[in-house]
């Protein structure tokens, strides 16, 4: 193999690849990134951990075809050290890749494996129905829900995000069993419907792909092309996403997402409107004094005031309040401060609506202004302190 590429193209794809490549796994080959010539003027990079797979094609000046698999992190670090401009890649003996910055003396050689030893990546069959999702929308939906995905990888359904698409609405729901967030937005011209569970790692990669695509589009500064979109295809156990030359596939989680609709209260007894920033700041301050073992904060609604209190034998007490418009009976409820704070930070509005019931009823938090373009809702289960 003997090719010349620009560092910019190469490192953009490589960055995605090394995020997916499995660094600590039991199959060493999965820590590699595959570099192969796929056609005249086309170089493909690919990486997989057998659950996620990413590949991208970049333009290249191909002198000689071939392929090689080298350590993703090694390659990434060396490419980063290269000056901007052209990179020449050549394979020696089929198992070593020499990386050279064109026009300079800087050069690296990395030992790897023949490209044929790299596992085959899943490929969508041609002609599958496609769904076009604006990357900005998807990114925003992920952003406002991904924090409540459970990090416990033994509970498959909660360790992933539910993506639902029907009648022109795209919805993401995540929960860790103690809180739940749901965000949905309109997407253009669809008549299909999809339901899929994407694992946490896949969601994180998807977010970065969306963000990259947005950054790319912003840089291109070409108003005529419109907002970039992501093509979504579904086949068997896999979902495929395509953004420009980048292809990303996820092995979907085969588990039952809990019946989330049932736990969203249809109406709360008391709903108060509160300034988002004020609440977030008060919570953040007070939670400093929360017992680090439980992180519990007591929230009290009393006349025109929302009160936050913490107390614990080891860290003393903390207190703050936020002025609100409230004229009902006093209500007190305990929460994990972090849960509440995550949500307050995720809401793209200056004011939030907090719906409370009894001491052990779920609290519902949503932005004060609702719009069809972007709808958000969070449910937090209380903590008995």
């Amino acid at each position: 193999m003997q090719v010349v590429v620009t560092k910019k193209d190469f490192s953009r794809i490589l960055d995605r690849c090394q995020g997916v490549a499995d660094k600590k796994g039991t199959m060493p080959v999965l820590g590699n990134v595959l570099v192969e010539v796929v056609g005249p003027g086309q170089l493909r990079l690919a990486a997989t951990d057998l659950f996620l797979a990413v590949s991208g094609v970049i333009p290249a000046q191909v002198d000689k075809g071939g392929s090689i698999a080298v350590g993703a992190r090694d390659l990434f670090e060396r490419v980063r050290m290269m000056p901007e401009g052209q990179l020449s890649l050549s394979v020696v003996d089929g198992t070593a890749l020499t990386l050279k910055a064109v026009g300079t003396a800087r050069r690296f050689t990395i030992h790897g494996l023949p490209g044929s030893e790299f596992p085959q990546l899943p490929k969508p069959e041609p002609g599958l129905p496609q769904l076009n999702i604006p990357v900005g929308t998807l990114s925003a939906l992920i952003q406002s829900t991904q924090f409540s995905i459970s990090t416990d990888d033994s509970r498959l359904a909660l360790n992933s995000a539910l993506i639902e698409e029907e009648n022109g609405r795209l919805r993401i729901v995540t929960t860790d069993g103690h809180r739940l967030t749901k965000a949905e937005a309109n997407i253009p011209n669809t008549s299909s419907s999809h339901t899929m569970l994407i694992p946490l790692k896949g969601i994180q990669q998807l977010k970065r792909i969306c963000d990259d695509a947005m950054a790319e589009a912003a840089k291109a500064d070409d108003a005529s092309s419109g907002e970039p979109t992501l093509e979504l295809m579904r086949q068997g156990p896999n979902a495929f996403f395509r953004a420009g030359s980048l292809e990303f596939s996820v092995k979907l989680v085969d588990a039952q997402f809990p019946p989330y609709e049932q736990v969203i209260p249809s109406a709360s007894e008391r709903v108060v409107r509160a300034p988002r920033l004020g609440v977030a700041e008060a919570l953040k301050a007070v939670s400093v004094a929360a017992s680090d073992r439980t992180g519990g904060v007591k929230l009290t609604l009393t006349r025109d005031t929302m009160r936050f209190e913490t107390e614990s034998p080891e860290s003393g007490e903390g207190f703050d309040e936020v002025g609100i418009d409230y004229d009902g009976p006093d209500i007190t409820i305990g929460f994990n401060a972090k849960y509440f704070l995550d949500i307050a930070n995720a809401i793209p509005d200056d004011e939030i609506l907090v719906g409370l019931g009894g001491e052990l009823d779920p609290a519902v938090i949503r932005p004060a202004a609702t719009s069809d373009a972007f709808d958000f809702l969070a449910v937090v289960m209380p903590m008995r302190i």
Partner: protein, 630 residues
């Protein structure tokens, strides 16, 4: 002609021998005790053919005159007891005057003895207690008793002997027991012509224990309450064994078997020891002789305490407190006993203990000296059990052992409020200077290894912690604290988890609903075999609710009569295990350092709730040796 006859004395002796001399080891025990009672400085034991062929005990004690020697072979002839009053102050091992004649009746025995004052010694030889042959002889000072052909005339008994190897290991055991009780005496044991034990006289019990448990890395604890003194050298929990066979209990310099005491010692380890496991090691308990009755068992391997409850309670509170702190610190590679020496509690001085237990307890002095009014029950009990003894003085002493709180229910143990400040005083007094102690939080976290171990740098070595064991220990302690202070925070679940249980378990859940709620689990019964979990303890929110409930219910069902709190403690440890950081979880620098800090606040921090050690240590010395720097 009447059918009832008085037994010939030889036969009576043989029958009595059945009680005293069960096997060679019991003969050895009697003979060694005689030697120790004779004021020996040195005691040589020879054991051939499992002690059946030949068993000989030679001492350099005071010896006997010919007259005494003849008498010593008569039943109920003893030099150790003159009147019934002496019985309550016994400090000698023997006193019944039964042993020697009993042994003599079942073997060929030869007794050689010379008193220091007499120029000539005497040799007595008998076979089966008869055919006494006395010859004068030139002998060294002291007494040698040689037993040959044990049970040659009691074939029934002989049949029940085990293999030679088993019998000789029993003899060895007996010698070791004797050696532990009297560190000041040199013991040698020659078995089948080979010297197998040589224990030179030691100045302290610790020294003798070390001679016998060379490799064991024991934890030394010392404490007292009232007249009861406890000194123990115990293995770390990871080397505990099922069954109490490796645990020597020595009460007033007498090796005893006492199930209750052994259990008490095991309990004082808390959940760190698995059920049915006991540490190996030696426990010395010393208390005034009038508070124990040794005349319970012909072989005197059982004792009866005047107030067993108070004794057990005192032992428990001393041992648990001391073990708790001894096993909390990371083991220092330097110390002889592998743990800190008593002088450096985790934070300086008594103040810390004062802080931890803010209750208005009596001052240490008061606890030691004032018999509390509440002690009356004990006084009564003591009077009943020891009516032939001067009751008041005993009752006083007994009352001293039982501190006020020992009077309440058995739950006292769980809460362990009994005051053992005395141990602290001792600690301070006997302070030795070492720098062996390390606090967990002073260790510097370096890296996580294989997502399982935490590598830390300490002042004298590297420490490798098992992250799961450490996190579990901390979680367990916190759960326990929260549970005891009834402040268990519970996180409500979005999706209640439905759990299938057996009808009996469901019934148990119904009966114990309040206690279960106190643990932070919100469980509601849905049907005959179904319950739902609606909330779980905040500390354990990583754990699966189903698993937590099954742990708890399973433990409650198993415990049966053991009472809820013991079951709960065990259940909490299981829950802590299932809810903690596991091997395979990544941990950040801050988390690791916080974990180390948390270990400082926890008793028994050196072991996870199931007794696995939390940490392995390698000293820099050892490292340097390994890489050839030394």
């Amino acid at each position: 002609m009447g059918r009832i006859e008085v037994l010939p004395s030889a036969l009576a002796s043989q029958i009595a021998a059945g009680e005293v001399v069960e096997r060679p080891a019991s003969a050895a025990k009697e003979l060694i005790e005689n030697a120790m009672d004779a004021g020996a400085q040195r005691c040589d034991i020879i054991c051939d053919g499992g002690g059946v062929t030949r068993l000989s005990v030679t001492d350099d004690g005071e010896g006997m005159s010919e007259e005494d020697a003849r008498l010593s072979l008569e039943r109920h002839a003893t030099s150790k007891l003159r009147s019934i009053d002496d019985l309550s102050h016994l400090t000698s091992y023997g006193f019944r005057g039964e042993a020697l004649p009993s042994i003599a009746s079942v073997c060929r025995l030869s007794l050689r003895t010379r008193r220091r004052e007499s120029e000539i010694g005497v040799t007595l030889e008998t076979a089966g207690g008869t055919q006494l042959k006395v010859t004068p002889a030139g002998l060294p000072v002291g007494t040698t008793i040689e037993v040959r052909d044990l049970f040659y005339n009691v074939p029934a008994r002989r049949k029940f002997l085990r293999s030679t190897g088993t019998e000789s290991s029993h003899v060895t055991n007996t010698v070791e027991g004797a050696a532990l009780t009297r560190p000041g005496i040199t013991f040698t044991l020659t078995r089948d012509e080979r010297l197998v034990r040589e224990l030179l006289r030691a100045n302290t019990r610790a020294e003798r224990v070390e001679q016998l448990f060379e490799q064991a890395n024991l934890v030394a604890i010392v404490g007292e309450r009232g007249p009861l003194k406890l000194e123990a050298y115990l293995t770390r929990p990871e080397r505990a064994r099922p069954g109490a066979s490796g645990l020597w209990l020595i009460v007033n310099e007498r090796v005893v078997r006492d199930r209750m005491l052994a259990t008490t010692i095991a309990q004082s380890f808390g959940s760190v020891l698995g059920a049915g496991h006991y540490p190996r090691g030696v426990v010395y308990i010393d208390l005034p002789s009038e508070l124990v009755d040794v005349n319970v068992h012909p072989q005197k391997t059982e004792v009866r305490f005047v107030d067993p409850r108070a004794t057990a309670d005192a032992v428990y509170s001393i041992a648990s407190r001391e073990l708790g702190s001894a096993l909390s610190l990371p083991p220092s590679p330097r110390n002889r006993f592998g743990v800190r020496n008593g002088n450096q509690p985790r934070t300086p001085g008594i103040s810390m203990w004062g802080k931890r237990k803010p209750d208005d307890e009596p001052t240490p002095d008061a606890a030691l000296r004032q018999p509390n009014p509440a002690d009356e029950q004990v006084v009564e009990a003591a009077t009943v059990t020891s009516s032939s003894l001067p009751a008041s003085s005993i009752a006083d002493s007994a009352a001293l052992i039982a501190t006020p709180s020992a009077q309440s229910t058995g739950l006292v143990r769980d809460i362990s409020e009994a005051s053992t400040h005395s141990t602290l005083l001792i600690r301070e007094n006997t302070a030795q200077t070492t720098s062996g102690d390390v606090r967990w939080s002073s260790l510097r976290f370096i890296a996580q290894l294989r997502q399982t171990f935490l590598l830390c740098e300490g002042p004298v070595g590297i420490y490798v912690l098992d992250q799961h064991a450490a996190a579990e220990r901390v979680a367990y302690q916190r759960l326990l604290d929260q549970y005891r202070s009834r402040t268990m925070a519970a996180q409500t679940l979005l999706f209640p988890v439905s759990v299938e249980l057996s009808p009996e378990q469901v019934e148990l859940v119904e009966q114990r609903s309040e206690e279960i709620a106190a643990v932070g689990l919100d469980v509601r019964v849905r049907g005959r075999q179904q319950v739902t979990v609606h909330a779980i303890p905040r500390l354990l929110q990583r754990a699966s609710p189903e698993r937590l409930l099954c742990d708890l219910v399973g433990e409650m069902a198993r415990s049966g009569g053991r009472g809820f709190s013991a079951a709960l403690e065990h259940a909490l440890s299981l829950m802590a295990c299932h809810g903690s950081l596991r091997a395979g979880d990544t941990i950040s620098q801050t988390e690791a350092q916080a974990l180390l800090g948390a270990l400082d606040t926890v008793d028994f921090a050196g072991h996870c709730a199931h007794g696995r050690p939390v940490v392995a240590v390698m000293s820099y010395n050892e490292l340097e040796r390994k890489v050839g720097r030394r």
